[in-house]
Subunit: 355 residues, 2 copies
DNA sequence: GTGAAAGCGCTAACAT
DNA sequence: ATGTTAGCGCTTTCAC
């Protein structure tokens, strides 16, 4: 009949002041334990649920954060969303989810619309121009994931070292001609992985060929299989597991065997052991990144923007079944140990723990 | 300096009343066009953004809906989330996302917590008891997807007919012993698919064996491969594509070839053509379901609960590469045409359009 | 067509 | 330890 009860109604029922009822929920330690108990009992009985909007209006705290991703259907994002949501929930925050559909304009609009209504925003794999990002970061509380713009708060899933491990591994197996098959060109992760491959191969006199799956789908990558195989490379590192998987599909269709004819290494570990052979990949701790971003937003709740920071989580190489010795009989190369990269230590079977 | 401007500040600046500014946004037709233009210009210049919380408090409309799923990392859900979010966005609604982690208690808590703050809730694949669901539906605006409780508002992805098509197809290929490999036991979809298989096989003197992948993961299904193969069935229908895929992995490991030795049909079409051979499956229009649910919530914004309804979207069989003639030489069965099920018409290569 | 005033439900000084 | 009061930013009667 009367709908959901309000604090005022509860107070009236109990013959006490609304502020007392309010305090019973927000600052119970200011109250006599008996009073708190009394209020809680009555609230329970009446089915009282606090009104977030009223609270937000009064306190200026929204009790929610926004999470903006380019494409929730891409398997990289669901685990991230899940971790963010879980952790936010632990902190008493709700999460607004929005999908930009890879469209920078949509992303920009979404940010402007959401920002004022939330405690802060997490923007993953932003497709916006750096100048715009800096601008936004200046006036909004936003944490970026996988976008590296100076002075902003950003958490990065760094695969550079793991890619070096991967290439070392391939070189040790005798591979000399290697392909990098890129993904979304505007993506920071793609640029980072591209350069990591470039730098290492250059430094170690390995030959590298670049391809790009556009869009970064299974089908597009599969269609690329022929050209990659024809290019004469004996190993490939793909931007992500979806592309790696597509490539494997293309190779299979062309009669090219993995890992006998060509080795492949993916990235992000989104497919686990569901491919055949099981895909070797670079695992990346999306959960930790998501939690760090949420934590950043929940700290310093007053400020109008986050202070710049660059927090890094390193990926790790996980070897499964898609790498093997090079087919042709060139002798395995042992890389000089004095070169400036770690040759071991980051090769593990499972990804590391958090934080 | 002063942070984001408010309606009152804008009004003061322009020397007009706050109510006029408010109307310029919400009921422009009540105002002189020049006034509207004036206000809009000033708002733009000042970077005014309406405060959702204040609006919500004043109007009682939240401008947001909640979306509750059991596990966002399961590939069935992301496309649904995406469609819901897109459509909600079109209607000017934001969406809160929450993940229950398959835990009924968590689901229940989430519903109670979110419901008062939103226009309405979409609960997908609820794991709650029917009695509890009815109770909730009574006092909250909630649309259920893939949970069929009478008198509630529910949209169902019905695969019964498509499963009949699938079995017909298998029977025509000569299959007589068929397995159904189930998924989450509490899931409505699982129960529906289970009975669909049971009813049809019973009516047509096909032999059926039941298995269940618990949990419904690739790994669990893969581990089941041996037993399923050993059971002597020549075809299997899986609860979903993930399980079908796991089974294929198990079969491959056991040297059982698909479709030569055993045919397999999945459900939900979450894998497209990424398996080898490409998985035949039952495609289901999750986008349409999501949009219908969002639409339902946006209708009759006043009421305290949705009026019961049962809206159905039929799945369709899509044949790719995992079904073939039975290995042993039993003659193909042609089913009697007078039996009460459609033998053709729902076999298509792509899923149908919306509605 | 526009203004004045009250109020949505809650919290936060400031009393007491 | 609790009550009083004012006000968050917006919408909405009700006047004019």
């Amino acid at each position: 009949m009367t709908g959901r009860p309000t604090i005022t109604q509860l107070a009236a029922e109990l013959g006490i002041a609304p502020s007392t009822v309010s305090r019973a929920f927000t600052r119970p330690n200011l109250l006599k334990p008996e009073t708190v108990a009394l209020v809680q009992k009555a609230a329970e009985a009446a089915g009282y649920v606090p009104n977030h909007h009223a609270r937000a209006l009064s306190t200026g705290r929204a009790g929610a954060i926004g999470l903006i991703v380019p494409d929730i259907a891409n398997p990289f994002f669901p685990p991230l969303v899940r971790a963010a949501q879980n952790y936010a929930s632990d902190l008493g925050l709700s999460v607004f989810l929005a999908d930009t559909d890879e469209d920078p304009n949509r992303e920009d609009r979404l940010i402007s619309r959401m920002a004022p209504q939330v405690e802060g925003l997490i923007v993953v794999s932003s497709r916006l121009a750096s100048s715009r990002i800096r601008q936004i970061a200046d006036s909004q509380r936003v944490a970026f994931i996988n976008r590296d713009v100076p002075e902003t708060y950003r958490v990065l899933l760094d695969t550079t070292a793991a890619i070096r491990s991967a290439l070392t591994h391939l070189a040790e197996l005798g591979h000399r001609r290697i392909a990098y098959v890129g993904g979304p060109p505007q993506s920071w992760a793609n640029k980072q992985r591209h350069s990591a491959v470039d730098n290492f191969t250059k430094a170690h006199a390995l030959e590298v060929m670049h391809f790009s799956a556009d869009p970064g789908t299974y089908e597009a990558a599969k269609a690329l299989g022929d050209s990659v195989a024809a290019s004469g490379v004996t190993a490939v590192i793909a931007f992500d597991d979806v592309i790696a998987h597509g490539l494997m599909g293309g190779f299979a269709a062309a009669g090219v065997e993995v890992p006998k004819d060509v080795s492949v290494i993916g990235c992000d570990d989104t497919l686990a052991t569901t491919t055949f052979p099981a895909l070797s990949t670079i695992a990346v701790n999306v959960g930790a990144a998501a939690r760090r971003a949420v934590a950043a937003l929940s700290e310093n709740p007053g400020s109008t923007s986050l202070t710049g920071a660059r927090v890094i989580f390193e990926g790790t190489l996980v070897l499964r079944g898609t790498t093997g010795p090079v087919r042709s009989a060139s002798s395995p190369l042992t890389l000089e140990p004095e070169l400036d990269y770690p040759t071991t230590g980051s090769v593990q079977v499972r990804r590391g723990s958090d934080s």
